[in-house]
């Protein structure tokens, strides 16, 4: 890249307007072209300065972040990186921003003097990715998420274990995918979404409210049941494990893998090991290459592997890494994924046996092989 990425910082805190440019200063490929104290000024400065990427605080006087974001999406469709606070309300509003088309978010910098490299690394990476991205695909934005009557959890053993790894662009992609899965979906889904601590609980709740299948932030010891997705909490690792009475997820605090915790590779590795051909690995939109190796393991163990297509990825990083290494058995658009997942779990198509009984036996087989 010859031309630097032009960034506009919109934040009502004087400190942040100083700090964020200071952080970005460390990277020569990024140039902060301006700062704005609130949404009104932000919009005006976008007009004047035509930045490539906007970092946006959501809590601002005057025109607040959400309304500013809506306006940016309506007029420019610029990639916006939300700078989000750590409160519960902050998580809620951040997730809302993502559904409105924000490219990604970073947590507000904490304790900068001690953690500068880490903070800078994340922000710079995301801004670069944002600048290179094709932009947010509005067709997959869920719009206003309506509530639903949560269906009963059907404590039925799943026919398949579907492990999903996803990062930037994930919230909307998962929202899209899960909303298209029926309540009687027979697979059990495990998700590692790169997301900081404090956001995943609400994220899971939101999905749960808006999708037919059940969604839950995983706790150690949660059972893998049909029609439920477990989202790995931020800052923990999640593994699948077979136990005598049923299959569960276990959470752990091991060191980050590939710079990530949760790491997709950790999940994929455990799923490949425990469920083998019973498993399906799906690597979706996101920066970096976390999960690529794990997808290879699932494939090697006899599982089915899919990578999301470049056209429908917000950032074509992780899937690309897997495709390039030949670990993806199939490359599919986001729109195709719901039917692929269903087909995978439906006995007559795909690799399953013959009907429900067959499914059971399949898991049984997997269990047996796992305990060997």
């Amino acid at each position: 890249m010859n031309k630097p990425v032009r960034v506009l910082v919109v934040d009502d805190s004087a400190l942040m307007r100083k700090l964020i440019p200071k952080i970005l200063e460390q990277d020569a490929s990024i140039e902060v072209v301006g700062t704005a104290i609130d949404g009104h000024f932000g919009l005006k400065k976008i007009d004047d300065l035509s930045p490539d990427v906007v970092t946006l605080d959501l809590e601002m006087p005057g025109l607040n972040g959400i309304d500013t974001l809506k306006e940016i999406m309506r007029r420019w469709r610029l990639p916006v990186i939300v700078v989000s606070s750590h409160s519960t309300a902050g998580a809620a509003i951040t997730l809302k921003a993502l559904t409105l088309g924000a490219f990604d978010f970073v947590a507000k910098p904490k304790d900068v003097s001690a953690r500068m490299p880490e903070i800078a690394g994340e922000l710079i990476k995301k801004i670069r990715a944002a600048a290179q991205s094709a932009g947010v695909q509005t067709q997959f934005l869920p719009g206003e998420v309506g509530g639903k009557q949560p269906g009963k959890l059907r404590p039925v053993a799943p026919t398949h274990i579907i492990a999903i790894g996803v990062s930037t662009g994930g919230p909307n992609a998962l929202q899209y995918l899960f909303s298209k899965l029926p309540v009687e979906f027979s697979g059990s889904i495990l998700v590692v979404q790169h997301m900081p601590d404090g956001f995943t609980e609400l994220f899971a709740k939101r999905l749960d409210e808006s999708c037919p299948i059940r969604v839950k932030e995983a706790q150690s010891g949660d059972l893998l049941v049909a029609g439920r997705a477990l989202i790995c909490p931020g800052n923990r690792h999640m593994k699948a494990k077979k136990l005598p009475l049923g299959n569960v997820v276990l959470l752990g605090d091991d060191t980050p893998v590939n710079g990530h915790r949760p790491s997709v590779d950790v999940l994929f590795h455990s799923v490949a090991e425990e469920f083998g051909s019973q498993a399906m690995g799906l690597l979706m939109t996101g920066m970096g290459e976390d999960g690529a190796a794990g997808l290879g393991e699932i494939r090697a163990a006899g599982g089915f592997t899919v990578a999301q297509s470049q056209e429908t990825c917000v950032v074509f990083g992780m899937p690309k890494a897997a495709i390039e290494r030949g670990y993806a058995m199939r490359v599919a658009d986001l729109q195709e994924l719901p039917s692929i997942l269903q087909a995978q779990c439906t006995p007559d198509q795909g690799r399953g046996g013959d009907g429900t009984r067959g499914d059971t036996s399949e898991v049984k087989r997997a269990t047996t092989s796992g305990s060997n």
Binding site: S13, A14, L15, M16, K18, L19, T35, I37, D38, H40, F41, E59, M60, P61, G62, L63, N64, I66, D67, S85, H86, S87, T88, A89, A92, I93, L95, K96, K108, P109, K110, D111, V112, S113, A114, G147, P150, K152, L153, R154, P155, V156, A157, D208, E209, R214, K216, Q219, S220, G221, L223, L243, P244, L245, G246, V248, T360, V363, A366, T367
Partner: protein
Amino acid sequence: MTELRQLFFESAGELVQKLNDEAMRLEKSPGHAETARSLRRTVHTLKGDAAACGFRELSELAHEFEDVLALENTAAAASVPEIALRAADVFAALLEAYRTGTKLPSIQSLRADIARLAHPVPGGAGKAKKTKKKAAKITNRWSEYEQLAIARAAATGKPVHHVVVQVDPQCAMPIAGRQMIQFALAGLGEVLALYPVEGSHEPITRIEAALASEKPAEQIRAKCSIPTIALTVRVTPVRIQTLSTTALPLVSGADSARNDEVAPSEGGAADITADITSGIASKEAAATGEPAVAPAMPTGPDNLLRVDAERIDSVLNLVGELILAKSMLQQALLEFGQRFPKDVLRGKFADAMAFQGRVLNDLQHSVMKIRMVPVDQLFRRFPRIVRDVGRHCGKEVELLIRGGQTDLDKSILDAIAEPLTHLVRNAIGHGLETAEERVRAGKRPQGTLRLGAYHQGNQVVIEVSDDGSGIDSEKVRQRALSQRLLNAEQAARLSETETLDLILQPGFSTAEEITELSGRGVGLDVVQSVLGRLKGTIQIETAPGRGTTFRLRLPLTLAIIRALMFRVEQRLYALPLNTVAEIARTVEGDIHQVEHYDVLQLRNDVLPLLRLGSKPPSGPERARRKVFVLVINSGERKFGVIVDGLEGEDELVIKALDDQSITTDLVSGASILGDGRVVLILNMIALMDRFTRGRTDANGPRMDGLLSSVVPAASSIESGNRRARGAAGGLA
């Protein structure tokens, strides 16, 4: 990062002030949604900024407060403004402690307040969350898998016990203790669950286990009661929301045969679903409750530049030097003109000088403008102070502020903050009456305090006035007598104004009783001395029953003044030009003696005089000696200063004087003229003070030779000329 810290303290200070403002506004219109939102936003920003800079305590406290404010029902609670104000105080104290690196203040009481704010809300999201958490901790922390295991054990007819061991706080090795308990349990039956889990980082204060065992509860209890580890042991039947029987086919894949053995458990109606779905709904509001705000014009332009005051000072100092250079050039031009009166170059020089002078003048004003800040920066603190003091005194006070946009030099503003606070406290504490007294006097029960600022000529006037009972000058006189500030004879001679000025004397207090807020006997004299330092004046105006006004007159800037220069005993002095009302020419013979001091008949008035130099020896020479009298008019007081000759007026760049070089309070600063001469700038207030004291004290020293003691000091200035030039043009 130090730059960042500095910025943080600056902006955090503003945020705390904003929090104060918003809390007060919310107090006036309780439950006003926009104000409440704005208050929360302020706390939010403070939290984020503090976290970024790693000030954990502040950030966490603000976080707690923000979270509570986010709860729908608390935001409207009546106690929010009060707690917000207290929070502002604690935040400010924390900031101060961080800044100075001192011990952090206690935050426990605020924390309790915040918690209480969250607590009493019935059905509020916060409570629901809390109780749920608590419940989960005690009765239902079993994971889904453990629930399954418990249910299965129960279904197979094995009793499942909930064992709770309270760990002895004296236990030296709780981790080993946990191990011992685990062994004990394992010996009794099947341990289905044990918390805290192995390797967990949470402190082991309590061990909980689900134990499937045929053994009686009493035996389990006894086995677990290991001395020095277990403090108490409780064994109860497991009370879990057992998984419905349908949950059991979960194991179908693994072992479908076992399913058939399972009998429906008793509490079978409840299932995991209930647990999973509960507590979802409440947080929705937080996300969607962000209504579009009416687009208001933003308050501060973004291209505001924050500059260290020191840098501006150094520019101003350089401008001062330039003015000095101008004077030197002018001096040179004058000599040139005298030597070559016909030279055409002279005219050219003069033109260039005039042009340079104009530019310099503009430059000086521009730079001074940079230092100017609206008085509002100071005034905005007062609503809070007035509220607190009013409350403390049990008086209802309405504060009216006007002229907040009046500009004043930043350093002056900073310097008068304390005296002004003092005057305001004093006005509420002593000036205003209680509501009953006011009603009895036929006034409305609420007292009014006015804070105003305006420009007048080259000065800024700041007024603090109340509509209270006014100052009883007779009472002041009595008080002064009883406190032995003066004797009866002196007291009788005092004019009304002079009597009022007594309250500015050190050690004076009229308060009937000494309160915490005001009237500790120290106080108003502080106001007086600060004003003296700033080359300002104070004037008191009172009308019995109608109120009192304190009027502070301050120079626009401290750095440069227009001054009248004069000579006393060959030495050069200056007074701010605006203090001089007129100049009279006279001869020594016309100066008369009345009692112990000199007076001059000026038109129809008798003007008391102050002699700065020593009195010339008597004789016929003396009577013919020409002198000038500067008529000083300060408030209602008028007196003359006898000087030997006038030097002219000029803009003086005030140089700092340190305490070592000047030992008298009569001189407040010095300046250097174009020809290198040093001029001492006199302190008006101190002069007036001497004048008043000299008059009232009939047996005191004569009012002459006041400046004799200054002379040696002045010469030290001259020798330290270079040093003085280098010093910042701040205040003396």
